[in-house]
Symmetry: C2
Subunit: 394 residues, 2 copies
Amino acid sequence: MDDLPKGFRAGAAEACFRKAGRDDLGLIVSDRPCVLAAMFTKNLFRAAPVRVCQEILASGREVRAVVANSGQANACTGDEGLANCRETQRLTAEALGLEPDEVLPVSTGVVGAHLKMDNWRKALPALVQSLGSRDAEGFTRAFMTTDAFPKFAMREVSLTGGLVRLTVMAKGAGMICPNMATMLCVALTDACVEREAWQAMFRRAVNATFNRVSVDGDTSTNDTILGLANCASGVAAMNAGDEKALEDALTAILDTVSHMLVADGEGASKVIHIKVSGAADDEEAELVARSVGHSQLVKTAIYGGDANWGRIVTAVGYSGADFKPEEVSLVLCGIERFRNGQPVNEEMEAELAERLKAKDVDVDIILGSGPGSYSFKASDLGHEYVSLNADYRS
Amino acid sequence: MDDLPKGFRAGAAEACFRKAGRDDLGLIVSDRPCVLAAMFTKNLFRAAPVRVCQEILASGREVRAVVANSGQANACTGDEGLANCRETQRLTAEALGLEPDEVLPVSTGVVGAHLKMDNWRKALPALVQSLGSRDAEGFTRAFMTTDAFPKFAMREVSLTGGLVRLTVMAKGAGMICPNMATMLCVALTDACVEREAWQAMFRRAVNATFNRVSVDGDTSTNDTILGLANCASGVAAMNAGDEKALEDALTAILDTVSHMLVADGEGASKVIHIKVSGAADDEEAELVARSVGHSQLVKTAIYGGDANWGRIVTAVGYSGADFKPEEVSLVLCGIERFRNGQPVNEEMEAELAERLKAKDVDVDIILGSGPGSYSFKASDLGHEYVSLNADYRS
């Protein structure tokens, strides 16, 4: 379909892994070998598909396909889980006439549950037959779990040699605090790239986007982001300008999709944009940004539209960062409420409450006069999160 | 009143700091000088009363009184906040015929709001007049905020020389992740103790109790725990056996009250008892216990009675602790569901769901065969937490 880069086809099928009446098995195939870049969760309990994809990445080989399921995450499932994962690789490769290690498996859903292999096998013929019938949205829908909407984006980039296309498809709503990658994300391009350059560009773009968002601070066992470049456009980055254009486009599209992830944080109603500046270095700024973005009290106050800025300052204070309290200032929705360690503009409360009704809430924290800064996006915390997660499996 | 140790009197008054119709200013006075032990928040934004109490502790002087208010925390209030705090010390001391630095001020409530000094001054005569009219519960009620019930306990200890009494009064429902102390807690005893021994015993007891509980992971700006020993019983710890008896009693009573704190975590319906063993050392075990106790996904699942044990294992995996995934086991409510990195006892799901209905939920995590262990108590996360915190100030 025409929102995928050249040479890629997508398909999906209903395997009834958890519920009937929806696609829950998706497939992407490139008609030629792809250069692979990828990043994975830092959770020590790496899901079976994470381990398999890491092996493929380490081998340096080119790949052809991604097969994705929702329903069972195939994490914490031991040897049986790993065997099941390899079996899905083998069966997919057989049906497509590929080698098993040209197929990248990704899974999402309940941690600790085994893949329903009978369902998987039964759905495979329909999945392969569906190739070419789904667009980016169709593939994305197949690996949604509690996502309220599919998250994907497409972008064209003009390089010296012509146009190339980037398409990114992601899922994620809960257990989201990516650490080197998000829940599941597949980025496709028909540009021609070198393996090392692609991986380096990919890592920088992910660190600037997916690794700076959080819904609930829970880093999943399955976080995987794959980048497949198949050169079907015949267009390569020929010079530094081209490389910058491609990386900028990749960063921009990953930023767009990672924003969707936060906006659809389970039950989230708002995106909190946290910017920390004036820190001794970027690491100190990051500590502060993450502490504020993970604070349950900050997230519930912003959900409720309560201008309780003292909770933000409190989270700055226990972040573990080193700073002088008397040099700290806070600007909330453009209104300075705390300057050099003292409350200011108390008469702006009503105006601030008004501005807090917006979907996007800006939190700017100035720690001092140092060069360090960091930005981070977090979702708020509301009743819908509790409802969704209190009984997710039933 | 007879649930306070000898020589202590308590009083309370209505100052209308936030709402009318309740006591919100409390006072404790000892009829003789007290040896002081204390621990305070590690939050860099220390509230004005925290800074004042720290000065008094550092001076090594004996103290006579504690004055506590709810409504405004007097934190992040700069120079004006500090001046207000010292003024409350001065006025209280004047009314009681004491030195200002014999009066320990503690505050709780909204961070960033100034103390309502006019209300404070107006309420002082009634407060002083009320001395002797309140028991431990009466004082505790005066510094409650969102607490659903007052948290206090009394205990008698038999030493070689006779009976001594311990009374502990605490408040705390949200912004609870004590780091070296809880939100606000006052422990009184009429035992005779040496300053260094009392402080050492106190620190060990707090580290074993209050520093091992969490409601929401937010460490407040005001956490303060004070221990006042006035020797009114005339009974001293005369030997190692006495010292152990006194410390054991102190630890037990602080454990009782810190358990109340978690049970009354804002909107909490359950207490999660996390025990980690088999770690390389206690620090690694602590990382795991805190990671599980702070996981929003674990807390919401347990709120909902969902035996979604994969979320617990996931939180173990991203804790930052170092261990071998294939050596990890998990026992939930007495049922082993994960052994050496693999799911077991899947047929016990229904029984497990039944056991999860209890108010107290046991989570036992065995990381390997090392000597390190740690225990931690956390509350669950439900709709009531969101409701209470989404619009706390209005």
